[in-house]
Symmetry: C2
Subunit: 177 residues, 2 copies
Amino acid sequence: MRVRRANSREKILAAAADVAREAGPGSLSLEAVASRAGVSKGGLLYNFPTKAKLMQGLVESYLSDFQKALEARAAEAGHESVLSAYIKLSADDCEQPKPSASWMFSAIAEDPEFLTPIKAFKRQLFERLKEETDDLGSLLVCFLAIEGMRSMNLFDSDVLSQDERELLVASLLKIAG
Amino acid sequence: MRVRRANSREKILAAAADVAREAGPGSLSLEAVASRAGVSKGGLLYNFPTKAKLMQGLVESYLSDFQKALEARAAEAGHESVLSAYIKLSADDCEQPKPSASWMFSAIAEDPEFLTPIKAFKRQLFERLKEETDDLGSLLVCFLAIEGMRSMNLFDSDVLSQDERELLVASLLKIAG
DNA sequence: CTTACTGTACCGGCTGGACGGTCTTGTCAA
DNA sequence: TTGACAAGACCGTCCAGCCGGTACAGTAAG
């Protein structure tokens, strides 16, 4: 059946994320991804002519997903600020015991430049948050603490307990006002 | 000259860190490290019989250096708390434009388990900080914000400007009390 | 309807190169 | 002479990317 054509790209991207998460970022080979996606190596290379293109695809889909999720949160009633939305979104993201973005390590190994769009996105987000507050110090503390939380999740770190995470989020929301 | 023997291990560890930083974490091969250290591959494998042992060596030396630096700071006059010492130490560490620990990405690619000692160390540090304060919320915010700062440095992120970093550190020291 | 042609989506064996680790052959200090 | 240590050629493995196929949908001429 050829009907499934349109989904191949997304299936492959999801498979890549899965492989990196479960087999480790060092095991993200084209064959592993293809097999996981239920596609042949040739098929993978048809959709992503290069491993670099695959990484790029992962970054782009990650960024657009994040953007969408943040916008959705910010639009929800009851959010007094984008910062609060960002805090809550990150808290939820970090609830998952397994990091959803281990592929980033593979991308860095391939070429650190792949993270440039992510850095740009973060800077953009920070600028946006700056506009809605006059307390830059508190914003910085919140923004970096979220970064720390995300980083710990990415590294699959169990340094913080569930309770501590909740207290942290509560404290951040308080600071955010 | 054989005289250099005793330093070989440290020279190799330093070379490995350099290679990861300058050529990218994906380019940390035994040959590259050996060449950078001014040592042959055989010589490298004599000191570190396995790439895994080399990674382990990097982790251990990183941890012991960090420990030493923190102890030194904490012992300095004028520090009212270990947390302040940790903040200031991290601020200085993150002053360097180039991340000094890119090798961590290579280690993760090799095997995520290599970071276990680092997580344990962090948890230990956190417990220690918990003992000297009764405001757990503030401690969490500070601890995570520092983590965020270190993470940004590790990812070679230029999201924050110099001024912003200084304001952040000042805010953290204020929260730390 | 049928045959021939075209472009798209996908398949999987192959190869060339890189890399980790071994092994043989030094080399130098004692 | 000997033995601790170093050198680097070499081997096996793994993997990215290539390439010659296959299958099928659409189109269009006969």
